[in-house]
Amino acid sequence: MQVAPLPQSDVSLAIQTIDLSKAYGGLQAVDRLQLAIPAGQFFGLLGPNGSGKTTTIHMLTTLARPTAGQASVAGHDVLRESVAVRREVGLVFQESALDRTLTVDENLRFAGMLRNLSRATIRQRSDELLELFNLRERRHAKVATLSGGMRRALDIARGVLHRPRVLFLDEPTLGLDVPSRRGIWRFIERLRREEVMTVFLTTHYLEEAEACDQVAFLTSGRIIGAGTPESLVRRFGPYVLEIDGTDMDAVSGLLSPRLGPCLKEGATASFRVPDEQFSFAELQAELNDSVQAVRWRRPNLNDVFLWINDPTLSAGFEI
């Protein structure tokens, strides 16, 4: 398919796409994506496995060719100015792409030289980044001897060595245990404080994306909702009510007239509670013996996604 250049690319946008699409055979991996991400924003593309997040990143970083539509990154068209795009971006791959036969320092130096940085610059930047990511003591260790969390940190350090204007992080916490995940988020936070750049993040741990300025939900290659995390969560309502029990029909029969449709997952039914003053104590009194547990908690982005992703639930809740 012939792809025309972007009509009038807006220079203040770090990333702009118009109908960006990618098909693999009959499978539409990314479907007419429209993005307009201003410079400096921390943007999160959220969606389950296979929703097209990596494919989107690959198109935006020139590693995959769009089958239709257009995209520009840092003011350069991804098809016609691919080398210029690659000069402006940093990319941390979903799968760690470090050379295990080299040390931490050597990995950084190799990446820096590929980007034509001088030895002095590489040394200075490595010092700063290894300090920032708590890897200073391990700088002469072979990558093969690092823990998963340390490797991920090194992946990220390498991705920003050349001070990219746009950083792409593809599932930076995938496969890590909870403490390492927290560590990685702390590093990303510190990094954002110290460097001015646009960050494009993907994750399927949706609840982790609350630090983003703006998020979009992706499912089957299409964006089904977008906004700031606070506004999305606020529009969802103040509470999620979760009820575990054996007779779900009875529970929904009792509560749906008041709370609307519920999301059933196994032996748990979840309700959106739109009212801050809702009396959970009264509710408890009404529930019968088939109920095993009642919990209420503040919603997170994962709840928002689950609800807007289900047509029977999203009716009363437009975003």
Partner: protein, 264 residues
């Protein structure tokens, strides 16, 4: 065009070579065994006149062998890079993609030349290289042959997706390339069919160029078979063609980039 990225790849390849000391040692021991065992055996078979002479005849072919294996190991490193994701780091760097192919080929060439030079020193110390040796021709022969071998390796690497099918390639490409060349026997004395195969095989011309450098003084069937000009033309022609095809195969973008470049 900037050279630092190319140097980064060469440096990494050399670092690997030094670290994988076992590989380096076996790269030098393998041809040594050929020289001492096969060389002595064939020498005896060929009779007194040729004995000693045959081992000298063998040294260009064995230098070629060192480079063929070295270049293959570097292209194996391309496959390794693909498998472990490092290739992605290369294609996300701001280099045109065809430049990645060229840089990897050059790094293969450098490793091959370094190993062959080490082997040449060994041969000289053992007395198998001596007499009328042309040093400039030797350097030219090493560089041109290493380039052709590395290009062949790159051609194979862009078609191999896993380390497994690379082993198959070793058997069906490397060994025929080595045996069906003038490395072990003079091309003129091969049966007609094999003569044609050897004439098509670019490796033959690398060995021939090294024969010009090392054994041009040996009695006719043992000396070079082609002229220096033909050797160089074939080696460079093959390298350019192989790298070109490898670029086309490597990525859409490098194919498009190369075509733009050719259109001017």
């Amino acid at each position: 065009m900037t050279w630092r990225p190319v140097w980064a790849l060469i440096e990494r390849e050399l670092m690997r070579m030094v670290r994988q000391r076992g590989r380096l040692v076996s790269a030098l021991v393998r041809p040594l065994i050929w020289l001492l065992v096969i060389g002595a055996g064939f020498g005896t078979l060929l009779g007194d006149a040729a004995s000693g002479g045959y081992q000298r005849f063998l040294s260009p072919g064995l230098l070629g062998m060192v480079m063929l294996f070295a270049a293959m190991l570097v292209s194996l490193s391309v496959v390794y890079d693909k498998e472990f994701g490092i290739m992605r780091l290369l294609i996300i760097s701001p280099l045109p993609h065809y430049w990645v192919v060229i840089a990897k080929t050059v790094s293969g060439m450098v490793v091959a030349v370094v190993q062959a030079a080490a082997f040449a020193v060994l041969l000289a110390l053992m007395g198998y290289i001596g007499g009328a040796v042309s040093l400039p021709l030797l350097v030219l022969g090493l560089v041109a042959t290493a380039l052709a071998c590395a290009s062949l390796g790159m051609l194979i690497a862009v078609w191999s997706s896993t380390l497994d099918n690379f082993a198959v390639v070793m058997n069906f490409v490397i060994f025929p390339v080595f045996f069906l060349s003038g490395a072990l026997y003079p091309v003129q004395q091969l049966p007609d069919i094999l003569k044609i195969v050897a004439a098509i095989n670019p490796f033959t011309y690398g060995v021939d160029l090294l024969k010009h450098a090392l054994v041009s003084g040996l009695a006719p069937p043992l000396g070079p078979d082609f002229t220096i000009a033909i050797d160089i033309t074939v080696l460079l022609g093959f390298a350019v063609l192989a790298v070109f095809v490898a670029c086309l195969r490597f990525s859409h973008e490098s194919a498009a980039g190369l075509l733009d470049f050719l259109r001017g």
